[in-house]
């Protein structure tokens, strides 16, 4: 925003609330991190011990050296990136059409995507498994990527449509009237301006795929195991391996957070310079 605040006001009105919110957001994660560096006999004690008296990295060592965690992390990355590529590749054009074109069935199709979103797919995990087996997609990357992308598509179409709607159609028309083809218009005029929306939607797809458990568990086998499935294996029938679980949980949040750290600069770009003169 434009109006400059005094430093005190900035502190009180902005920085302090942000700090409070951050504390709320980070505290449970911090508790998990602290737990992950405690030896087994110091976890789940009574009375509650906050700081570790004998911090150890043994859980991380075991996690990385003696389990398949890194490999699973890699699997998750492939699946998530694949889902982003497939999801965006399919929903951005569709959203563009919904935003810029008018055709019969437009309203109906938009509602269709919404309704598809509303069916709780978790219920259909067994019929879906049977279908995937018919298609030969069990224990393959493609199977899980398709699943993740598909769960994300309805959302992506709607969000991208609204981001495209926020960009005036006059932009496209101006370019088209200047003799640009549709493809050139999209590539050079619309997409750059819609980047924050595209990036955000991409992040959403990535995060959802990264965290997804049920579908990945059902469709995975010995070859494709995502990191969420791997973490679940630390929760046993008789024991919970808190050390390994919290170490894994700590690590699993890092890629997404790092990704966001890098990407969030892009979010500040876009229209803040007042590019649209209308």
């Amino acid at each position: 925003m434009i109006v400059r605040r005094s430093r005190l006001r900035l502190l009180l009105e902005v920085q302090l609330p942000v700090l409070l919110i951050l504390v709320f957001a980070i505290a449970p994660y911090l508790w998990m991190v602290l737990t992950s560096i405690k030896p087994d006999n110091a976890i789940a004690t009574f009375p509650v011990q906050y700081l570790p008296t004998a911090p150890t990295l043994e859980h991380y060592q075991v996690l990385l050296a003696r389990t398949s965690f890194l490999h699973n992390l890699f699997n998750s990355l492939v699946v998530a990136l694949g889902a982003v590529v497939l999801g965006l590749g399919v929903s951005v054009p569709a959203a563009y059409a919904f935003s810029r074109f008018r055709f019969t069935g437009r309203g109906g199709l938009l509602v269709f995507f919404l309704v598809i979103n509303m069916v709780p797919v978790v219920l259909l995990i067994i019929p879906l498994f049977v279908l995937m087996r018919q298609l030969g997609l069990i224990d393959t990357f493609i199977g899980v990527i398709m699943g993740h992308a598909t769960f994300a598509i309805p959302f992506s179409v709607w969000m991208m449509t609204s981001y495209f709607n926020a960009l005036p159609a006059e932009l496209d028309e101006a370019a088209l009237m200047d003799g640009a083809s549709r493809w050139q218009t999209i590539r050079h005029v619309v997409l750059p301006l819609a980047m924050p929306g595209i990036v955000t939607t991409g992040i959403y797809i990535f995060v959802n795929s990264w965290n997804e458990y049920l579908f990945a568990m059902m469709l995975s086998g010995q070859n494709i195991k995502t990191v969420t499935v791997a973490l679940q294996s630390f929760i046993g029938e008789f024991t919970v391996q808190w050390g390994l679980l919290t170490a894994g949980g700590t690590l699993i949040a890092l890629p997404v957070t790092l990704l966001f750290l890098i990407i969030q600069r892009r979010l500040v770009g876009g229209l803040t310079a007042g590019a649209v003169k209308s």
């Binding site: 219920l123 067994i126 959302f155 955000t200 997404v256």
Partner: protein, 293 residues
């Protein structure tokens, strides 16, 4: 709106429709089929068509359906509402310029970056009667005299799970709204500042209206997602104590995977979908009309 050739839209839409049809449409249709049958997975010899029988049983003879429906309503309104409010405030704050903003923006995403099963386990542990940090801190601060069984008492269980879900979900709104805030040209604020507008007025007359469509869509989609979500509740309370945190999707899930009654469970989830459809249709008509215009 823009100049278009007649069937220009088709290649844009086709990929999305194809992919969706394979993985979502087919199981969706199968849900419909299952809901019209008595279908118990371990009893394959006894599959039979019952028409609307399942639906009649649910609506007329199943008190747990109505209890779950009530819980779902509270669940959706509270969870989505609080996620949205917190997310909006956070986005507005993070749009300001201050030292450490980049780091703050990245850190706020952390709850969203964790899988539901971890969130469920950690929060259950934090709420634990003896070993949980909440009770410990509240006791030390003198705010309570005895530890509270947050997840075992009907009066606190639903709220406790909702808090975990608000924690998980508010970054979603933060990110979506933050992106939307970037599309508001700075010139609008400059002009308003020159006219002597206060910060509140700018929020009310420039920011919020400009965000309207993004907010409306985000709320709609989040509402659908939360209404259907069950993994956090499943891990934290399993629907208990009693029926306190029993929501509709959880009920359908238990019917399917504990009782193996896929026909009945499908009917439950279809009813849920229909109810959502009604709510969404009303919502879209009132609020997000411009998206469909």
């Amino acid at each position: 709106m823009t100049m278009q050739r007649r069937s220009e839209h088709i290649p844009f839409l086709l990929p999305a429709l194809l992919v969706t049809a394979v993985v979502v449409l087919y199981p969706a249709l199968q849900t419909v089929w299952l809901s019209l049958h008595h279908f118990v997975l371990f009893d394959p010899d006894n599959i039979r068509f019952v028409g609307l029988g399942n639906f009649a049983d649910i609506l007329l003879r199943d008190e747990l359906f109505w209890i779950s429906l009530g819980n779902s309503l509270v669940w959706v309104v509270a969870a989505v509402g609080l996620q949205f409010l917190l997310g909006l405030v956070t986005a507005l704050l993070l749009n300001q310029t201050f030292w450490g903003r980049s780091v703050a923006r990245a850190l706020v995403v952390v709850p969203w970056a964790l899988p539901s099963v971890i969130i469920g386990l950690m929060w259950t542990w934090m709420y634990d009667l003896n070993l949980g940090v909440f009770n410990d801190m509240l006791l030390r601060a003198g705010l309570i005299d005895a530890p509270v069984a947050w997840l075992a008492q009907p009066s606190t269980a639903l709220g406790a799970v909702i808090l975990a879900l608000v924690w998980q979900g508010f970054p979603f709104f933060t990110v979506m709204i933050l992106a939307g805030l970037q599309t508001i040209p700075a010139t609008h604020y400059e002009a308003a500042a020159m006219d002597g507008a206060t910060r509140w007025q700018m929020l009310r007359y420039i920011t919020l209206p400009a965000l309207r469509e993004v907010i409306a869509t985000a709320l709609l989609l989040r509402m659908i997602w939360v209404a259907n979500s069950l993994d956090v509740i499943l891990v934290m309370t399993g629907g208990g104590p009693g029926y306190t945190t029993h929501t509709l999707p959880l009920y359908a899930f238990l019917k399917a995977y504990s009782g193996m009654e896929f026909g009945y469970a499908s009917a439950l989830s279809l009813l849920m979908t229909l109810l959502l459809l009604v709510v969404v249709a009303t919502y879209v008509r009132r609020v997000a009309r411009s998206a469909l215009a």
